[in-house]
Symmetry: C2
Subunit: 481 residues, 2 copies
C-alpha cells in the first residue's frame, strides 16, 4: 500500500513541476529523482510510467525521459464519430440500438477517493484477506512441475472435486465431472446466462438483485424480468406468475444471504421454487456466492438446492473471490446433462480455460489447515462488523429502521422514506466522506421503494464503520431533512 | 511432469486392483500406499482424488477411503431430457435451435495421448517456455504490497502502457488509456466480437482462419462470412464485395503470419483493406497474435495496422500466451472512441477484471532483461523447427508440396490432393502416433480444397518433428495411396 501511495505522490509532484520544462526538454535522470525525492527506483519508474500514460512525458529507451512535445504537432487522433453508426447499425426494426451499460457494475468495483470510508464495495479489506497464505500458495503453484502446461480445459481435476464436495448432497450426487472451473463468479454468471438462454429471451431475476446480474443479462441480449423478494427470499406465487407471463426458462436466484437483502430462502419456498421451475420446464441458476460468508451466529446452513436435484434442474455457481481476494479469480459452475455440455462449450469458446497456477494456488489454499481457521475468522469479524453497523444505525439514524439483520454476506439493505432522492443522498454522503450504494441499480424495472445498500466488509474495522455512519447521518440531515 | 505421470500410473494400478475390495470396504491407508508404491503423499492424494472423481472410491474425512458403494443404490441421477427442450425453445421462427460447438477449439486444446507426437497444438513446449522467469515473476507478484487488492478495472496502468508501446506508431498515437487488459487472446476476440457486432449480424473472416474465431463468432450469434486469403493475405477485391454483399461492419484479420497459412498482408493490401473498411463504415479487428513469434530470418516486421489509424478504425488485440505459456492468460485490446467504451463495458460486465498478480507477473516478465533474450531464443528455435519440418516433408512426402514457408508463427498449411479424406488421414496419423489437424474446421463454409495444418511448436525438438513426419507418411501411404 505504501509503495502505491508514494507512486501517486511522486507522480503528483512531477505533474505540478511539469511547467518548468519546455516541450522536448529532458527531465532529470531516474537516479537523480530517486535521490531528490527519497523514493525507490521502482517508485520513480512507476510514477514516470504514469505520466507517460497521461501523455505528459515521453520515454526514449537509453536516452531518458522528456517532456512531451506539446510544441510539435500533436499525434493525429482523428474523428471517431462514424463508430456511433457502426456500433448501432445492426439493430433490427423492433429493437432499440444496442448499448452495454457497465455503470452499475463499475460503481461497486471502483475504489473510493482517498479519505473516503467505503461502505459500498463487495470485497474484504486487506486485513481480512488470507494474504500470506495466498502469496505462499501462488509462489508454490508457479514452481510446481507442469504449472505452465495447459490445464485440463474444464479445470484441474482435484479442484473440481473440491468444489463438488462443497456443494454437498448424497454420496456421488455431485462429482468432479459435473464441475467447470471459471475465472470468478461474474464469469460464471455470464457463462450460465449465455449457455441457458438465447438473445431476446426473458430471464427471471430476484427483485432487488445485484447490478452485475442485470448488466450481464442485458449484455447477453436477455430481458431480465423481476420477481419480488421478501425476508424469506423470492415469493413463489409471483415466481409462478412470472414464468407463465414471460415464457422464461431460466430463474437466477441467491437462496443463501441474497444480495442485497441478506434474505435466506425459507424451507417451504425452496420446494416451491423447484416445483415452479419444473412446471415451466425451466432452469434454476443457484448463485451460491455467500456460503463462505456465514456469520459466526448463523447456525447450520441450509444445503444447496443443487445437492437435491435429481433431474439437472439446478445450475450451481460459486466463487472463492468473496471470501479471499478480488484477485483470486477462481469460481465454479456445476450442472448435469445437456446443460453441462452447453456450459462447457460456451466457456471453452469464450476463454479456453483458467490459468493453471491460479487454480493450483486455490487448491492449495482451500486444502490447507489454515483455511477453516480463515473462514472462522471471517465469520467472527463479519458478525462484529454487522453489529457495529446496526448499533451505529440505531444510534445515528433511528428514523431509518433496518427491516432485516442478515446472518451472512456483508450487505445491509436500508429502506429510505418514500420519495427520497437516493442519488442526491449518495452524492452528499460522498462529500461527507463515505461511499454508499443507491438502491436503483438493484432493480430490473421501477423500484417499489427507495433504498441504500451498505456494505460492512470493505472498511478497515469497526471504528471506521461507525465513523462512516456518522458521516452518512450528516448527508441524511442535509438531503432527507 | 514426473509427478503428473506418477499420479496417472498409481491411479491406473489402484483402478486395476479395485476388484479386490467389496463395496464399502476400506482401502489401505495413504501412509501404506506411500510405502507400498514408493511415491510421495501428494501423488497418493492426487491419485485417490482422481478415483473419487471417477466415482470408484469415496473419501470420508478422518475415516479413510472406501470402495464406492456399488452394492447400495446408486445416487439418484434422474432424467435430464427436459433440458433439450429448454435449451432450444427460444429459437424464433426463422432461426435454427441454438447450439454452441466447441469441437474445433477443443481439438487444438486437447493434449494427445501419451506416446503420440503433437504436430497439432498451438502452444510452445516446456523447453521453449520461460518457466523459471515465470515462476519467479509470479512468486514476487503475489507478495507485492497491494497484489491482492482490486486492480484498476481496465488493467494495471504500467502493463497497459507496455502494450501501448508494443503497438508502436508515432509518439502518443497509442497510449495506456487506449488499452484494456484481457484474460488472454481468446477472451479478447470474444470481447471484440460481442462489443462490435449484434447477434444476427455478419462478420467477415479470413478463409481459412482459426477455429477459435469461427466458434467465438457463432457462439455470439454472429454469421462468419469467409473472405479468401492467398500468400499475401486477404484478397482486397473479394473483401470489398463481401462488405457490400453482407452488410458486415466488422472484418477480423491476422495481417502478420496468419493462422493457418502464415501469410503476411502485403503493403498495398494493407492500404486496400483499410480503404474497404472505411467505405463500408466497418471496423477492422487486427488479431496481432504472432508479433512475438517472428522467426530469426523474418527480417524487419511491418508495423501494426493500429499504429497508423487516425479515425479509430482498427481494434488491435494481442496476447502474451503464445510466446510464453498457455497459463499466462494475459492479453490486451486497444481501440479509440465509442468502440473503446463499448469494449470496456463488455469486458467489465463479463468478467470484472483480470487477476492482479497475473498482470504484475506479466509486467515483470516483459520488463526483465531476459525477455528480449527469450524472444531471440524462440525466434531461433522456431526457424530451426520450421526447417526440420520442411526438410522432412520434402524427403518423406514429396507429393505434397508446401506452397508457402512461413517466416513467423508456428503453423504450416499443407494442401492435400483433391478429394482426399482429411478426417481419415488425421485418424490414420493418430494411429501411427502423430496428431495433426484436418483443414475443414478452418473454413467458415465449404473449403475450396483439402488441407492439413501442421504445427512445429509443441514437439519437444527437431528429431521428434522428423519422426512425426515419418509417421505421417505411414498414414498418407495408407489413406492417400
Amino acid at each position: 500500500m505504501q509503495e502505491r501511495s508514494s507512486v501517486a505522490e511522486l507522480a503528483g509532484t512531477l505533474r505540478r513541476e511539469m511547467d518548468r520544462y519546455s516541450a522536448g526538454e529532458k527531465l532529470p535522470s531516474s537516479r537523480l529523482l530517486v535521490e531528490r525525492h527519497r523514493v525507490s527506483p521502482v517508485t520513480v519508474s512507476r510514477a514516470l510510467a504514469r505520466l507517460a500514460a497521461e501523455g505528459l512525458v515521453v520515454t526514449r529507451p537509453g536516452a531518458g525521459v522528456f517532456r512531451a512535445g506539446t510544441g510539435a504537432a500533436p499525434p493525429e487522433r482523428g474523428d471517431t464519430s462514424w463508430q456511433e453508426v457502426a456500433l448501432s447499425a445492426d439493430a433490427s426494426a423492433d429493437q432499440v440500438p444496442r448499448s452495454v451499460d457497465a455503470e452499475g457494475v463499475l460503481a461497486t468495483l471502483a475504489e473510493p477517493p482517498p479519505g473516503v470510508i467505503e461502505l459500498s464495495g463487495g470485497y474484504l479489506p486487506a486485513n481480512l484477506r488470507p494474504e500470506r497464505a495466498l502469496a505462499a500458495a501462488l509462489a508454490r503453484a508457479g514452481r510446481r512441475p507442469g504449472a505452465w502446461d495447459r490445464p485440463p480445459v474444464p479445470g484441474v481435476e482435484e479442484l473440481r472435486g473440491w468444489f463438488a464436495r462443497e456443494i454437498g448432497g448424497p454420496e456421488g450426487s455431485v462429482t468432479a465431472a459435473d464441475v467447470l472451473i471459471t475465472a470468478g463468479g461474474q464469469s460464471a454468471v455470464t457463462t450460465a446466462l449465455r449457455a441457458l438462454a438465447a438473445p431476446g429471451a426473458a430471464v427471471l431475476v430476484e427483485s432487488p438483485t445485484y447490478p452485475g446480474l442485470l448488466a450481464a443479462a442485458r449484455a447477453s441480449g436477455l430481458r431480465p424480468v423481476p420477481v419480488p423478494v421478501d425476508t424469506e427470499g423470492v415469493r413463489p406465487g409471483l415466481l409462478e406468475g412470472a414464468f407463465r407471463a414471460s415464457g422464461a426458462r431460466v430463474f437466477v436466484c441467491q437462496p443463501l444471504f441474497q444480495n442485497p437483502t441478506g434474505a435466506v430462502l425459507g424451507p417451504e419456498r425452496r420446494a416451491a421454487v423447484l416445483r415452479a421451475a419444473r412446471q415451466a420446464g425451466a432452469f434454476v441458476v443457484e448463485d451460491d456466492f455467500a456460503r463462505h460468508l456465514a456469520h459466526e451466529d448463523a447456525g447450520p446452513l441450509p444445503p444447496t438446492l443443487r445437492s437435491s436435484d435429481p433431474d439437472g434442474r439446478v445450475v450451481h455457481l460459486c466463487s472463492l473471490t468473496k471470501a479471499t481476494s478480488p484477485s483470486l479469480r477462481v469460481g465454479a459452475l456445476s450442472a448435469r446433462g445437456p446443460a453441462l455440455e452447453r456450459l462447457r462449450a460456451v466457456q471453452t469458446v469464450d476463454s479456453f480455460f483458467v490459468s493453471r497456477p491460479l487454480q493450483e494456488a486455490a487448491l492449495e489454499l482451500v486444502g490447507a489447515p489454515a483455511w477453516p481457521r480463515h473462514l472462522r475468522t471471517v465469520a467472527a469479524r463479519l458478525r462484529e462488523r454487522r453489529e457495529v453497523l446496526l448499533t451505529a444505525l440505531t444510534r445515528e439514524l433511528p428514523g431509518l429502521p433496518v427491516a432485516h439483520a442478515p446472518l451472512g454476506g456483508y450487505h445491509l439493505w436500508l429502506r429510505l422514506p418514500d420519495g427520497s432522492d437516493e442519488d442526491a443522498l449518495a452524492g452528499a454522503a460522498l462529500r461527507a466522506g463515505v461511499a454508499v450504494a443507491p438502491g436503483r441499480p438493484y432493480f430490473a424495472a421501477e423500484p417499489a421503494a427507495r433504498h441504500l445498500r451498505l456494505s460492512f466488509a470493505p472498511a478497515a474495522g469497526g471504528s471506521e464503520i461507525a465513523e462512516g455512519v456518522r458521516r452518512l447521518r450528516t448527508a441524511c440531515d442535509e438531503v432527507l431533512g
